[in-house]
């Protein structure tokens, strides 16, 4: 199976969203970007004909993991502060 143009675009989107999640200071935005990257990865797995992995990635990486991260952010602090 070859990658199409849409797959390449989704790959770039995944890369950009994870980069944004790494550089973001607001942790809630970081969580949302992580979920977006997980959903893009799920699409790529589907187009590579791996539906089992895609199902796992869509549920865990797109819904459950951001929810857990958001609960943890709700419990602790919202902004990533660097002491200088």
């Amino acid at each position: 199976m070859f990658l199409s143009v849409i797959d390449g675009a989704v790959l770039i989107l995944v890369l950009l969203s994870y980069l944004g999640a790494l550089t973001q200071k607001d942790l809630i935005k970081c969580v949302v970007l992580t979920g977006l990257g997980g959903l893009g990865l799920a699409y790529i797995f589907t187009s590579l004909l791996a539906p089992d992995v895609a199902l796992t990635e869509a549920i865990l990486g797109g819904a459950v993991l951001p929810a857990f991260f958001a609960f943890t952010v709700m419990r602790t602090q919202r902004f990533d502060e660097i002491e200088e």
Partner: protein, 255 residues
């Protein structure tokens, strides 16, 4: 006020659009066989991934299960029963006394959360029970059910959650799932001499009565059910521990 009104309008519009799309696609439904067609074309009986996961690499699946059990145990130790004399947790939870974490969503979200949760749970049960034929399996189905639980918890808060799993029930469910997996492995050891061996038939009777044309699946559906129960209970336990403050406040009061 104005912002919230515009938000409601936007949510209603998107709800109408998506609802119309769903109804249109149901009206002109056309089932595409998809990946299953490829599977059955190459004559891999019945689901190759499931066979690899539970039959050839059964020990690896057992290891994955134990990893999940470990993570739930660690979460329980940090947030659950293990906190008795932890000062930083007293500082974190001691200030707000037993606040119900209702996040204050609009009625649209609350009304939509119940049927979506029920649909997700039904889909999860379907994915678990059809794990040996279709893509999916115990892990995915259990994660779907626990995603429904997370949805209901987030939309309604802990106390008014329509899906009521108590903490004790989830704990025992997780132990039951893991024990089911281990005991089914012992069954293979008794009958053939190898742990987690897939048994085709016990005294002439197949362990899972499957319709003709599907092929022998052995004990894979039962292993799927065990893994599904365990994953569902594990992820839901983490949700309960992270979202509810009542258990934690009670434990702090004890300490």
């Amino acid at each position: 006020m104005k912002l919230s009104v515009s938000r409601e309008v936007a949510v209603s519009l998107s709800f109408l659009l998506f609802g119309a799309g769903v109804f249109y696609s149901i009206y002109s439904i056309e089932v595409v066989e998809g990946v299953n067609a490829i599977y059955t074309h190459i004559k891999i009986v019945p689901n190759f991934v499931s066979a690899v996961l539970f039959d050839w690499r059964g020990f690896d699946t057992l290891g994955e299960c134990l990893i999940l059990i470990n993570s739930v145990l660690v979460t329980g130790i940090v947030f659950g029963k293990g906190l008795f004399n932890w000062d930083f947790l007293k500082e974190v939870y001691g200030e707000e006394k037993c606040k119900d974490s209702d996040l204050g969503f609009t009625p649209i979200v609350k009304v939509l959360a119940v049927p979506m949760g029920v649909l997700l749970m039904a889909l999860g049960i379907l994915v678990i029970l059809g794990g040996h034929i279709t893509p999916g399996g115990g892990f995915q189905g259990g994660a779907l059910i626990s995603a429904a639980y997370v949805l209901a918890m987030v939309a309604f808060g802990v106390r008014r959650c329509p899906i009521r799993f108590t903490y004790k029930f989830l704990e025992s469910l997780e132990s039951f799932g893991a024990l089911l997996f281990l005991i089914l492995g012992l069954l293979g050891m008794v009958l053939s001499g190898y742990y987690l061996y897939n048994i085709r038939e016990i005294w002439g009777i197949p362990p899972f009565p499957s319709p003709p044309g599907v092929g022998d699946v052995g004990i894979i559906p039962y292993l799927n059910i065990g893994v599904g129960l365990k994953v569902l209970a594990g992820l839901s336990t983490i949700t309960v521990l992270l979202l509810s403050q009542r258990i934690i406040s009670k434990n702090i009061g004890k300490g």
